[in-house]
């Protein structure tokens, strides 16, 4: 018997709990030669802002030990071009489409959400209050429960689409921020976005990224992501989306057991475009081996002695 991998999260029905993470899968079509998009649980777009943005100067990425830093800087086509040019292509795929939203002001978030609200084919919005690469790009919004709640509360008012709050790990108390966004009306909570990091070229005495600092992703951050998922999943009622260093079925299972209802794969796509396909297969196999009929049964079943 084939296990049932489908899940419902924040009112969105997904074929399976594996989604492509924002910023790592473009606008969906870039990987179309290599990945059967229709087999994915869903995909999250690159962050969309009100106006088009050029992004940071290069170099924008650099490898670190078991990870990478990026400072893309919210480069995107802007919400109107997104709706006109990108959404029609995305809509053709038979998979959930979640649009990642960023802004420099609360008003900008609200306006982007308002424009996306009417757009056909969008299954949900992920509100990025966690981008570390733009000073006015969300990082500050996600560092404090009040502001985080404000962004979610205001965007909540202008859309009936499922809202997912995406949190930054660069905080003292992730739980208070998660709770604040839940109370403000988030239907789910995604974590983690990248950790702030930097690296230096000792020959030139300059930072390797033109932007000086960037966001750390990849296997290096998996332990940090897991502990945050564990804490937040134990503290909120809405579902949690686990993100950070997931490259294998085993990695995904760690997040599901720890309390994430679904997972997103970011850097893993760069390392191996087959990554998400292998993860879906790995989950299926695990369920089969353990006699699990439905993947959602294992969510949060981590056994912790007390």
């Amino acid at each position: 018997m084939r296990p049932d991998l489908s899940v419902n999260i924040a009112g969105i029905r997904l074929k399976n709990p594996v989604l492509a993470a924002s910023g790592t899968f473009g606008y969906g079509t870039e990987y179309a030669d290599l990945v059967d998009i229709n087999r994915l649980g869903g995909l999250v777009t690159k962050a969309i802002t009100l106006e088009p943005r050029e992004g940071s100067p290069p170099p924008r990425t650099v490898e670190t030990a078991a990870g990478m830093l990026n400072a893309i800087g919210l480069a995107n086509v802007g919400v109107d071009a997104f709706i006109k040019e990108k959404m029609p292509l995305l809509h053709k795929f038979n998979t959930a489409v979640i649009v990642n939203v960023a802004g420099s002001t609360i008003a900008e978030y609200v306006e982007v959400v308002r424009r996306l609200d009417g757009c056909q084919g969008i299954d949900g919005l992920e509100i990025n209050i966690s981008c570390p690469n733009v000073k006015q790009g969300g990082f500050l919004f996600g560092s404090d429960p009040q502001t985080a709640a404000k962004v979610i509360g205001e965007t909540r008012k202008v859309t009936s689409l499922p809202l997912i709050a995406k949190l930054t790990p660069n905080v003292t108390d992730i739980v208070s921020i998660a709770r604040a966004t839940e109370e403000a009306g988030a239907d789910a909570i995604s974590l983690i976005n990248t950790l702030l990091g930097m690296t230096i070229n000792v020959e030139t005495k300059r930072p390797k990224l033109a932007n000086v600092t960037g966001g750390l992703s990849g296997p290096a951050i998996k332990p940090v992501a897991l502990v945050m998922v564990w804490k937040v999943a134990g503290a909120v009622k809405v579902p949690v989306v686990g993100i950070g260093g997931i490259l294998s079925g085993k990695d995904a299972l760690e997040f599901l057991l720890t309390g994430a209802s679904v997972v997103q794969v970011g850097t893993g796509n760069f390392v191996d475009p087959q990554c998400m396909m292998k993860i879906i297969h790995g989950l299926e196999q695990y369920c089969q081996e353990k006699g699990i009929a439905k993947i959602s049964e294992i969510v949060g079943t981590l056994e912790v002695e007390k």
Binding site: G26, T61, N269, F270, V271
Partner: protein
């Protein structure tokens, strides 16, 4: 001409000059469809260090042997590890990626300018141009035909880095060499050869260049002054290689463009050098 992800078998991986390796991979689909200037994105090892793939130009293809060649220089951890991989092992390859050189519709004099390891994609280009000429695929008036020519200007640190000269000659290219230390050919930068070539240049002339950024900047300048069409092959740090991460941008007159899908070959006049 779609991109594939395949396990390429290492047919050989040998040091052909100090710290320069020639890697032959069994990759039928890539060998079949690749164009000069395109590249492959290789996963060096299965563990999470090094994590990201590494991009390498396609140096040669032999579709009839399902073979793709890479010419690479050991410059860091990834290329070091790659140089230790053995025949018979497999490498996870993405390719062919990127937009290669645009082959001009009308023939003429093709000047290829290679700096250091920048020679890698230009051999594939030279071979393609020369084969096309041999086939008479270009329709040119008779009197112009004698002016069709591939001139290969090759710059390197010293003589031991000048690799496929005899092969190029045998294909019918004109080859000139410059070395930093004067151990072979002209002593000085390869752009000296280009400047000299400009004096002899003919009407329908095209420049194609690959090499370090400083060299490309100068080539672009020379071509600009002479109003000669020029294509340059760029490098940038890459994560995805397929246009999804927006990581590999270069500044152009039409804003930041992605080297991996909008390039790696760009019209020289488009690129804004810092």
């Amino acid at each position: 001409m779609s991109v594939v992800q395949k396990q390429g078998k290492i047919l050989s991986n040998l040091e052909v000059a100090p710290s320069i390796f020639l890697l032959n991979l069994g990759l039928p689909q890539v060998a079949e469809t690749a164009q000069p200037g395109q590249f492959v994105h290789l996963r060096i090892g299965p563990l999470s260090d090094p994590l990201l793939r590494r991009p390498f130009s396609i140096h040669r293809t032999k579709p009839e042997e399902a073979k793709v060649s890479i010419l690479y220089q050991v410059v860091g951890r990834g290329t070091k590890l790659l140089s230790q991989r053995c025949s018979g092992e497999k490498l996870d390859c993405l390719g062919p990626l990127g937009r290669g050189f645009a082959i001009p519709k009308v023939a003429g004099q093709f000047i290829l300018v290679a700096g250091g390891i920048g020679i890698a994609p230009l051999i594939f280009l030279a071979e393609t141009l020369l084969r096309k000429m041999g086939n008479g695929k270009w329709e040119v008036e008779k009197e112009k035909r004698k002016k069709m020519e591939v001139v290969f200007l090759m710059g390197a640190a010293s003589t031991e880095y000048i690799l496929p000269e005899s092969e190029l000659l045998s294909w019918g290219a004109a080859v000139e060499v410059a070395t930093d230390d004067g151990s072979k050919g002209h002593r000085g930068p390869v752009t000296d050869l280009l400047t000299r070539q400009m004096d002899r240049s003919v009407a329908s002339c095209h420049i194609f260049a690959c090499g370090p950024e400083g060299m490309l900047k100068e080539v672009a300048q020379i071509a600009g002054q002479q109003k000669i069409p020029c294509q340059i092959c760029l490098e940038q740090r890459m994560a995805c290689g397929v246009g999804a991460c927006l990581g590999c941008v270069v500044k152009t007159r039409s804003g930041y463009r992605r080297v991996c899908v909008d390039g790696p070959v760009f019209p020289a006049g488009e690129v804004i050098f810092e």
